[in-house]
């Protein structure tokens, strides 16, 4: 038995909405700024923008990005 037309339409719309929501979630995640520093020996550390070291790194990076303009 074929589904009723309005259910087909609802399914289609909610499917598009789900896709759009997932796209926005992915976009937000990938747009999240980060700072990572690696050290000799293979060690690396990530610094959050909330920390003092992270704040300085982001500030210095912004200045560097401005210098490239």
């Amino acid at each position: 038995m074929s589904p009723k037309p309005h259910r087909l339409l609802l399914d289609r719309v909610s499917s598009y909405a789900d896709e759009a929501g997932a796209y926005l979630r992915r976009r937000r995640m990938t747009r999240k700024p980060f700072a990572r520093v690696s050290y000799p020996g293979g060690r690396s550390a990530a610094y959050d923008a909330e920390t003092e070291a992270g704040r300085k790194l982001f500030l210095a990076a912004s200045t560097l990005i401005d210098a490239a303009r």
Binding site: P33, S38, I65
Partner: protein, 156 residues
């Protein structure tokens, strides 16, 4: 005894600056997402840069200082991604390279290109041309050898 230009300290400096210019140019060719880059020496002086060396000197030096200050030890590599772009820095011996790329660039490729170019520069042997041969060189290459003749049993 004749003394070549490259063997004098001034000659070494000018040769290194010329190599650094070539390194910056090569980075631009290798990385399409690159906005600009600079090569800094141990004192923080810009040997070459995509734009004005003064701005790159100050900004690049501050970027490396911030990375060193984060943990109290000298950083070998830095990658900071912001909304406006991505900033990179690596060190090799006495040299450092700082670069700015578009947002969402492939960081591993960018760091690989930077390491390759900086390693060549630090070796002191110039910047080898690692680009693929262009069409003119390819067409000038000798033709491929012909297929060997088939054995008699296969030909029959």
């Amino acid at each position: 005894m004749s003394r070549t230009k490259a063997s004098s300290p001034a000659g070494n400096a000018s040769a290194r600056a010329a190599d650094a210019e070539l390194a910056v140019a090569r980075m631009g060719e290798m990385s399409p997402d690159l906005r600009g880059c600079a090569v800094l020496d141990r004192s923080g002086k810009a040997l070459a840069a995509s734009g004005g060396t003064r701005a790159w000197e100050e900004a690049g030096g501050a970027f490396l200082d911030a990375a060193d200050a984060a943990d109290g030890t000298a950083a070998s590599g830095v990658h900071v991604a912001t909304e406006d772009g991505e900033a990179f820095a690596i060190r090799d011996g006495e040299l450092a390279m700082v670069a700015v790329a578009e947002r969402f660039t492939l960081a591993s490729l960018m760091l690989f290109d930077m390491r390759t170019v900086l390693r060549d520069l630090a070796s002191g042997n110039g910047i080898p041309d690692r680009r693929a041969p262009d069409r003119a060189e390819t067409s000038a290459a000798p033709p491929a050898p012909e297929d060997p003749p088939l054995p008699p049993e296969a030909a029959s």
